[in-house]
């Protein structure tokens, strides 16, 4: 699989886009210059910017709309963000806000995205409302495509139930996501994003992204 310069992560809010984009950036930065663009204009909590310190220490450039995570909930897209799309080098990972509403912001960068080539991933957690089966997954993908004018190229199964996840749940998510990919006529196989204990032995390791969550609740952060 030849990697495109731009990888866009979309999906229903709470599907795990942000954690996955952080993990991808941390993996990608070992091979090439990597920019993580947090385009989430929907949700001011638990977002990429909170992991900025960790990412920047590893050499990832983190860009976000101005006012993101500040006290104002009206994010503004700055010229700096235009620049990230205009340049030709490095891997650009774009974390987009939830649902078609969050994805709509991509419309502004559509021309550059089409010029440079892109993969658009839709992240699915079967345990989340509105993506409970393959029909709902297809519906979500169609809505995102309609809002962005771009095409979803890959589906990522990120099915989990926090600490109550089981391998069986992950496999159930994989089956439904694969059924959705088939219905959508996608050429690329469905990837799996999961934490190590829940990665099924049957999965092709090439298709697995091992997760290790960075964003935490205040009570998980011991002696912060």
């Amino acid at each position: 699989m030849k990697e495109k310069r731009i990888t866009i992560l979309t999906g229903h809010f709470g599907s795990g886009k942000t954690e996955l984009s952080i993990r991808m950036a941390l993996n990608s930065c070992q091979q090439q210059k990597t920019i993580l663009l947090d385009l989430d204009v929907v949700n001011p909590f638990f977002r990429t910017n909170e992991a900025k310190e960790v990412l920047e220490k590893r050499g990832v450039q983190v860009l976000a709309p101005r006012f993101a995570t500040s006290q104002l909930d009206i994010p503004a897209l700055t010229p700096e963000l235009d620049g990230a799309f205009a340049r030709k080098d490095g891997h650009l990972i774009v974390d987009v806000g939830g649902d078609e509403d969050g994805a709509r912001v991509l419309g502004r960068y559509r021309r550059q995205i089409l010029e440079q080539g892109y993969s658009m991933w839709a992240v699915v957690n079967l345990m989340r409302p509105f993506t409970r089966n393959h029909q709902e997954i297809v519906e979500m993908v169609r809505e995102i495509e309609a809002a962005t004018g771009l095409v979803v190229t890959d589906l990522i199964n990120n099915t989990h139930l926090c600490s109550e996840t089981t391998v069986e749940l992950v496999l159930q998510g994989q089956r439904e996501t694969e059924a959705a990919a088939l219905a959508l006529g996608l050429e690329t196989p469905v990837r799996l994003a999961a934490m190590r204990p829940w990665i099924p032995a049957s999965m092709d390791p090439q298709l697995v992204i091992e997760m290790d969550p960075v964003l935490k609740t205040p009570w998980d952060m011991e002696s912060r």
Binding site: D73, M221, E222
Partner: protein
């Protein structure tokens, strides 16, 4: 039914739908927007009403009208928006109407900020609007509780004909946890014969009103209301006591802060020679579990209380009243959207143990 991974705000909306909420009226504000968003997606599909009102004031008056027909209704907002709703809430309380109001608190005063806070405790528990009234205020600390207490809030509101409030904060609204929706057993349907649902002359008219020109009449209506509050206090007070037996220090905290406190207690449990710390977590903020605090204060082992809040100190006043001078009551708080860290709370506890009176 199997568990599903929810955001706190979604858990409230889904629980309300399952509890038979027929209409939602609201106006968007961070950090509770997933509540109206969830209703907007689901309600039209099941033939129920979602309406984005032109303002919070409009939304609460739509609730007033719909509740008068005995329909299960909900509105939600965050701090500044809940301030706007206060007039309507007072009218609803005065008219003896059931409904559920959600406040996912953010920093204040004024427009404040969008990060989590608990600085609307006074507003929620001491009235908020004008007149002699209370809301029954539920303070969930987990997403499971957000779902279960939402269902309970509808049942309690109808049983006693009072408005009920779910008081959460930005973290609880935004975070995700698995939730089981079939745990709750609904109460028997309350008598709804008071509802104004149209009249063909075969029964007395139902009049929904909060205006009494005769002072004696208003006093008698208000006394009835407070008699009901007395019954609610007796029957509906909810509290969790955690590690309180033999504790030297009892921490009082609710919602998000109670979870941070639990992680502190877990840390201290592992440390040799660390003080024994318990937690009293009010689940209803009104009625306040004063008796639980009074009993704890009477325990010999208990040296002092520490109230921790995401405010400059509001619930601490109820703790002080309940403890009634029997033991010292101290306070630690962060505000403006800052969440007290486990380390800060632990340091505070240790400084109290070293006799660090302040």
């Amino acid at each position: 039914m199997a568990k599903i991974l929810m955001k706190g705000n979604e858990a409230i909306a889904e629980a309300a739908i399952q509890a038979g909420c027929q209409a939602f009226f609201g106006y968007p504000i961070t950090p509770q927007n997933e509540i109206p968003a969830y209703f907007a997606k689901k309600m039209p599909k099941i033939g129920r009403t979602f309406l984005q009102a032109e303002s919070e004031v409009a939304a609460i008056n739509m609730i007033y009208g719909a509740a008068a027909t005995g329909t299960r209704v909900m509105t939600s907002s965050s701090s500044p928006g809940v301030s706007l709703k206060q007039e309507g809430i007072s009218y609803i309380a005065g008219s003896r109407l059931p409904c559920v109001i959600v406040n996912i608190m953010r920093g204040g005063p004024g427009l404040g900020g969008i990060q989590p806070s608990q600085s609307d405790y006074f507003q929620a528990t001491k009235g908020g609007g004008h007149g002699d009234y209370h809301l029954v205020v539920f303070a969930p600390a987990t997403l499971q509780e957000m779902a279960d207490l939402t269902k309970l809030a509808f049942d309690v509101a109808e049983e006693y004909r009072v408005p009920a409030m779910i008081l959460g904060d930005g973290i609880l609204g935004q975070m995700m946890e698995p939730v089981e929706f079939s745990d709750y057993t609904p109460r028997p349907k309350a008598d709804m014969s008071w509802a104004a649902t149209g009249n063909d002359g075969s029964k007395p008219r139902s009049v929904i009103n909060s205006l009494y020109m005769e002072p004696s009449e208003l006093e008698s209506m208000t006394r009835d209301l407070f008699a009901t509050y007395g019954i609610i206090a007796e029957r509906e007070t909810l509290v969790e006591e955690y590690h309180c037996e033999g504790a030297e220090i009892i921490v009082a905290a609710y919602g998000t802060v109670a979870r941070v406190v639990k992680s502190v207690i877990a840390q201290l449990d592992k440390e040799e020679g660390a003080p024994k710390v318990g937690l009293i977590r009010p689940i209803t903020l009104w009625p306040f579990p004063a008796e639980t605090f009074a009993k704890a204060a009477a325990q010999d082992s208990v040296q002092s209380f520490l109230t921790v809040e995401m405010s400059m100190g509001q619930m601490v006043e109820d703790v002080q009243l309940a403890v009634n001078g029997a033991k010292p009551v101290r306070f630690f708080g962060r505000t403006g959207g800052m969440v007290p860290t486990a380390k800060e709370i632990k340091d505070e506890i240790l400084s109290i143990c070293k006799g660090g009176a302040r």
